[in-house]
C-alpha cells in the first residue's frame, strides 16, 4: 500500500494495485505539487486487464489544479488500449456532480458511479 498525505488530504493506492482512495480537501498549488499523486495514479494503470477504480467519495474539495491533474490522468488512460476506468463519486459532495462530467467528455468510456 502506498500513501501520500498532507495537512488536509490523504491519497492511498490500495493493496490490489488498481484502487486509489482519496480523502479530504486537495488544494495543492500546481502541476509540480500534484506530480507525486499523478505518478501514483499512473502506477494503477500498469495492469491493463484489471479495472482501475478511483474512490473519490470522501474527497470533499478539489481545486482546478487538481482537476487538471485528473484530466491528465484520464487522457493517459484513454490513450492506452483497453483501460477500464471507473470513478466512485458521491451526490452529497457538490463538486463531483458539477465537474466530473467534464472528464467523461475527454474519455466517453469513463464510468462514473454516483451514489
Amino acid at each position: 500500500m502506498k500513501n501520500i498525505h498532507g495537512e488536509s488530504f490523504e491519497v492511498r493506492l490500495e493493496e490490489d494495485g488498481v484502487t486509489v482512495f482519496f480523502k479530504g480537501a486537495l488544494r495543492l498549488s500546481g502541476v509540480e505539487d500534484y506530480a507525486p499523486i499523478l505518478e501514483m495514479l499512473k502506477e494503477a494503470l500498469t495492469d491493463p486487464a484489471a479495472p482501475v477504480v478511483l474512490d473519490l467519495r470522501e474527497l470533499d474539495f478539489l481545486n482546478s489544479s487538481g482537476i487538471t491533474m485528473f484530466s491528465r490522468f484520464v487522457i493517459e488512460a484513454r490513450d492506452r488500449v483497453g483501460v477500464n476506468l471507473q470513478f466512485l463519486a458521491s451526490e452529497s459532495v457538490p463538486w463531483q456532480a458539477r465537474s466530473l462530467k467534464n472528464l467523461q467528455r475527454l474519455m466517453p468510456s469513463l464510468h462514473i458511479c454516483l451514489s
Binding site: 495537512e7 488536509s8 480537501a25 488544494r27 498549488s29 500546481g30 502541476v31 474539495f61 481545486n63 482546478s64 489544479s65 482537476i67 487538471t68 484530466s71 491528465r72 487522457i75 493517459e76 452529497s92 457538490p94 463538486w95 456532480a97 458539477r98 465537474s99 467534464n102 472528464l103 467528455r105 475527454l106
Partner: protein, 203 residues
C-alpha cells in the same frame, strides 16, 4: 485613465446588501506559507454566506441548498484567491483583496491584485479570447491541452472556465491604474452567482 471593464458592467452592486472584504499584504509572508490561508479564507467565506440565506421550506431542502451555495462560494473564492496570489506583483505593497457581496438574488465574489503592464496585457488577451464563447467547449479544449508539454500555462484559465461552466457564474474584469503605484495596474476579477441557477435552489 479610466478603468477598462470586460464582462458584466455592474461591477459592484449598489443595491442594499451584506458584504465582507479581506485584505492581505503581499509583503508580510512568502507565497508558499500564505497558500494555506487561501483555503482558510475561502472556507470562511463559504460558511459566512450561508448565515444570511433565508430558510426555504423543508429542512432537507434547506440543508442541500446551503451545502450547494457554501461549496460554490468556497470553490470560487479559492480559485480567485489562488490566481490573485500567483499573479500578484510581489515586490510592491498593493494589497490582495477578496470581497463577498450578498443580495436577495445573487452573490458576488471578487478578488483584486496588482500586476505589471505585461501581465495585465496577457490577462486582457485571455479575457477577450473567452468572451462570447461556449465555456463548455473552451473547458474541454483546455483540459485536452493540459496534458501537453506546458500544463502550467493553462491552469488559471481552467479555474475561470470551471466557474463559468460548472457553477453558472458570470465573470467580469476591471483593469485600472493603481493610484499609489501608477506603473502598476489593479486587476479585479468578479464572479456573479445567480442564486436561481444553483441546484437545490428554487427558481
Amino acid at each position: 485613465m479610466t478603468a477598462q471593464i470586460f464582462g458584466f458592467s455592474e461591477h459592484r452592486s449598489h443595491a442594499r446588501c451584506e458584504y465582507l472584504t479581506l485584505a492581505f499584504s503581499p509583503l508580510s509572508a512568502p507565497l508558499r506559507s500564505r497558500w494555506r490561508n487561501n483555503g482558510l479564507s475561502a472556507d470562511f467565506l463559504g460558511d459566512y454566506v450561508t448565515t444570511f440565506l433565508p430558510a426555504n421550506g423543508s429542512e432537507a431542502a434547506d440543508v442541500n441548498r446551503q451545502a450547494e451555495i457554501r461549496h460554490a462560494v468556497t470553490y470560487i473564492a479559492n480559485e480567485l484567491l489562488e490566481n490573485a496570489m500567483k499573479y500578484h506583483e510581489h515586490n510592491v505593497n498593493i494589497p490582495i483583496r477578496i470581497h463577498l457581496e450578498l443580495t436577495s438574488d445573487h452573490i458576488v465574489v471578487s478578488a483584486s491584485n496588482g500586476v505589471g503592464g505585461g501581465q495585465a496585457l496577457c490577462y486582457k488577451t485571455f479575457v477577450e479570447r473567452i468572451q462570447d464563447k461556449d465555456a463548455g467547449e473552451l473547458l474541454v479544449k483546455q483540459l485536452e491541452e493540459s496534458s501537453g508539454s506546458d500544463p502550467s500555462s493553462t491552469i488559471s484559465c481552467l479555474g475561470l472556465l470551471t466557474m463559468m461552466n460548472d457553477y453558472g457564474a458570470e465573470l467580469g474584469w476591471m483593469f485600472e491604474v493603481n493610484p499609489d503605484f501608477t506603473e502598476f495596474m489593479t486587476v479585479t476579477t468578479s464572479a456573479v452567482l445567480p442564486l436561481r441557477n444553483l441546484p437545490g435552489v428554487p427558481a
